[in-house]
Every structure is written in C-alpha cells, then in structure tokens.
Symmetry: C2
Amino acid sequence: MIETPYLLFLGDAPDQLAAKVAVGIKDWRPENAVGQLRMEGCKADLGLTDMDLAQAREAGAKTLVIGVANRGGVISQDWKKVLVMALEEGFDLASGLHNLLRDEPDLVAVAEACGRKLHDVRIPSVKYPIANGVKRKGKRCLAVGTDCSVGKMYTALAMDAEMRARGMKSTFRATGQTGILITGDGVPLDAVIADFMAGSVEWLTPDNDEDHWDLIEGQGSLFHVSYSGVTMALVHGGQPDALILCHEPTREHMRGLPGYQLPTLEAVRDMALSLAKVANPACQVVGVSINTQHMSEADARAYLAGIEAEMGLPATDPFRFGPGKLVDALAAM
Amino acid sequence: MIETPYLLFLGDAPDQLAAKVAVGIKDWRPENAVGQLRMEGCKADLGLTDMDLAQAREAGAKTLVIGVANRGGVISQDWKKVLVMALEEGFDLASGLHNLLRDEPDLVAVAEACGRKLHDVRIPSVKYPIANGVKRKGKRCLAVGTDCSVGKMYTALAMDAEMRARGMKSTFRATGQTGILITGDGVPLDAVIADFMAGSVEWLTPDNDEDHWDLIEGQGSLFHVSYSGVTMALVHGGQPDALILCHEPTREHMRGLPGYQLPTLEAVRDMALSLAKVANPACQVVGVSINTQHMSEADARAYLAGIEAEMGLPATDPFRFGPGKLVDALAAM
C-alpha cells in the first residue's frame, strides 16, 4: 500500500506521452495528486500546480511518484539528486520503472537512514496463496480483450468512476504497474510466479458486500500467445459475474505478433464465457467497449451501432462517449 | 543441465512412495541410475545396487540426486552429513525439494570450496524470453488433462520411450520437477514469472528436424482454476501439432477443489483444440490416455472401448496396456 496523496515527479520528460503514468493518476485519482514536480527541460505538463518538495510536504503529499518513463532505462544522476532530496524531506518513493529503486544502492541507503519506503510496483510485495476457487461474496466485472492494449484498464477505470458517481459500491482493482500507481495498491500480475497467479487475483478481489462491484483490470488476451496464461488467471481467479469485451477495430495484427490476426468479438465472447463459467457458472457477457481513437466520430458511432445490432449487447467507447451503457448493464444484473 | 549419470539418494525414506522421484528416474532413465544410496532405516528400495559414495564415483556417477521427499520439509542433519561428503567426493547435488539446497549455508560453502554445483530444479536457472509465437520446425505433442495429476507426465514419458524404441525421433520435454530430475533438464514451469511462461515453453521446444517430435509434459488443466494459466502457456507456447487427452475416471472432484466437477473429455477436447489452433491452426486431437489404476482390468477395457466408440479416437492406459495406439496416431500424421 502506497501512502497518498502524491507529488507527481515528471523529471525531464521529453513529451506528454512519456508522462503517461502521471496523466493516469491525475485523470483518475485527482484527489491523490497534490502537485507536479518538473525538472529543467521537462516538456510534459499535467496542468497541476508546480511545487518543490517543501511546498508539496506542506500541501500534505506523502509519496513522490515517478510518473514518467525514464530515458535509456536507467535512473539518471539528475533524477537521483531529486529522489535523494525527497527521501530526506520525508517522502516515500514509488516507481513502476524497469530500473528498480531497490537496485540503486544510494537510494536504498538514504531511504534506510531516513526511515522511508521504496515502492517498486513491478515487483510483488506479497506472498500470494494458491487459488482455492471458493466462491466469494460480492460481484466482479472483468474486461477481456481481443488483444493487449485495447483499453481494458481505461474501461474499468471509467466504469468505476461512473459507478461511484452514481452512488454504487465499486472498487477498481489494479493488476498492472500503471493501475497500481493510480490507486496505490494492486497486484503486478505479469511479475507473479506462475503457480500463484490465480491466487493473487483471488487475494486482490476478496469477499465484499453483495452489492459491491470489483472492476478488475484486464491483462493480455486469451488469444495473445505471449500473455494468454495471465489472462486465464484473471478469468479463473477473478470469478467474474460480468465480462466486458474490449476491442480496437483498426489494429492489423496482434500486438507484437505479426502474422497473428485478431480474433472476432464473437470468438472472444464464446471463449471467455465458456472459461469463466468454470469458476462462476452465472457469469454473463454484458457489454462491449470499443477503442475508437483512430476513427472519425461518424465512423465510431456507426461501428458501435453495428456491434449492438449484431451482438445484441450495449456497445460504447467509454472515453469518447462515456461508460454509461456498460454501467447500466451492471446495474441491471 | 544436470550431469549424468546419477547416484540416487533415498535417505531414510519411510516407504516406497516417498522415493517417487527416484522411482521415476529408474523407470524412465535406467541408464542414468548407476546405483542407490540408502541410510539406516530406509524403507524404500529401487532394486538397484546399493553403493557408497566411493563405489558410485568408481561406477561413473556425477551427481547425487535427492530422489526422496524429506520429512518435515527440512533437510535434516543426518542427510547433511551425506550431502557434504558427496560434495567433497566430487558429486554435484540435485534436488526438487521445497527446502532449497542453496538456502543451506553449509552446503553452499562446501560446494564452493569443492567447485561443485547445487541444482535446485524448482527454481528457473535461465532468463526466459517473452514468447514470440513464431512457427517452429519439427512436431510437438502435448498432453492436456481433465484435472491435475491424471497421468500427463507418464503418458508423455511412455510415448517417448515407445517412439525411441521404434526408431522415431522424439524428446521428452520436462516442465515439472520430477520430469527435470528424470531427464536432467527442462523448465520448472510453475515457478516461472507470469510474463515469461509461454516464452519458456518456446525455449524448451525449439526448431528441430521436420520428423522430430517433442513430447511436452503437461501441467494442470484448462479447467483447474488454480493452475489453468500454466496450462494455457503450454498450449500457446508449445504450438502443439497433436493433443492427447488425459483423464482419471474415478476422481470425484477437481484435485484440491471440492465442489468443482471434472469436465468431460469432450469439453477438454473442444476447449484445448480451439485454444491450440490460435498458435497452430493445424493442431489435432489424436488420442486419449486413461489412468485406470483404480479400475479392474475388465472395467478398464470396457471403459476404453466406450471412449473409442463415443469419441472416435484411440484410447489406452499407457501404463497398463502400453502407449502403442497413441504412438500409432502420431506416426500416422
């Protein structure tokens, strides 16, 4: 569990895209983001108040979150100066970088001396159990995709926000680095040991009120040969009551796998439902989330109408047109 | 890669069952087993020549394999005496125990001083790649089960032995601790990090002669919610050309999951084939392997005949009636 709220460190981000994690935190948990800290030459801007470390402490920030991809895969000496000062000022550090904070002896030494924590969210910090398959109370929704990176996290976050706005009980359950930094906890599923994957998902989505929904962040795809085992663990460990199908219609082949065509939404529906019923015979496919960012608005609306007609399921782009239809579907269950 | 041949250490095994790993090595790779080393009170017997360390070295043994489950989950002081002496005599040590050799400082120190290796086969020793899904040359057969522990390893080992006896090109590919100790190498798949599971299976079953078969050891079941992600990685990473369905007909529920019924063989056939075709559209289900150990011979024969009639696939118990029919099916492809 990472202590909130955060000061968002943008470093010397070369552009806004490099600050993707910080943008996610600011978009989805603005209450966790008291300000931004930018170094000279930083080209990203979240529109938050620029603060130095002392100002951010004053404003209540507990953790400095590295909200930016580092250049060249290493934590630079320029960054180090800021990170060391942050520890000395009383901040914990949190990072989703491949270059782990704990692998930097100077950061480890300073953190120890100051009694601060280093959170590397790529690395599991919990000894997860083996899944036991016991039915849990409360409801769970899982986004499953035709491919990786088609909008599964975004769909779950948008639905969670809408549900809370409507006064429904819901929790976004992060299973990836960005999601974990956004919410402050979760399971870095792709870094979990094989035998404990499904157990880690059970651990992440425990018994809850009967009318509470966990919105579980999906990963990979049952049809993506590199990562399908991770997706399978979500389908079985998550025991979803509801599945949302996610798709990006303009993609020409599976991400990172030239020669592998994307499956149809119908194929994902049938495969995911059939597998999900092993853990939860009552599971239903309740809606479709389409990432239409590469389509005109007219094309997007026509595409969504086509999906609704063909599949008999509500379809939306939750970013462009809101997640209302998907939340309606959960509310109706 | 563990150096062969082995001296099989049976320690103070309370019964034959405790020496399961040693029995597997002796049954499947007798050429790797030069003898057995038993301590006072050992109740297991492989029928191999009893040897002390010096005799085994003389006979060519390179590695002392712990072929027995330890009592209480710890490596006892009585065992330690033998293990230390073995290192001093020039043996490497290999173990599939949960209690790792490398976690015992005395063994580590002696191994280092003597220039010997400690092989803990539960822990991956290779940095596996992420799967790339590229089609590989040669042929692959994977056993998929209705449940865990229904005879998938045994089926693959029996088919491999029969194929080599017939002069066919084949290799058993171990994916679990026992299999790795039997053959001297493999991937401890349940201990691999999630993102690299399918990649480790690709690594294990590389390009080969067009008429060469990898017999891949199966793990878990697509219908076992605790381990299905591991099975999925085998189905996609293994790119099987042929699937063998494995089943134990008398089991009352999924192993370790009371309340979970076993799927039908038809359900496993359809699910596994449909997923396998993502990675290899030419994949076929070619036979059925039934573990009939809890059935009379008459019942077993009747059951197998029933499966053949219902499913139109050759069915056998490879332990009881030989794997010939399954090998015939591969040879006919």
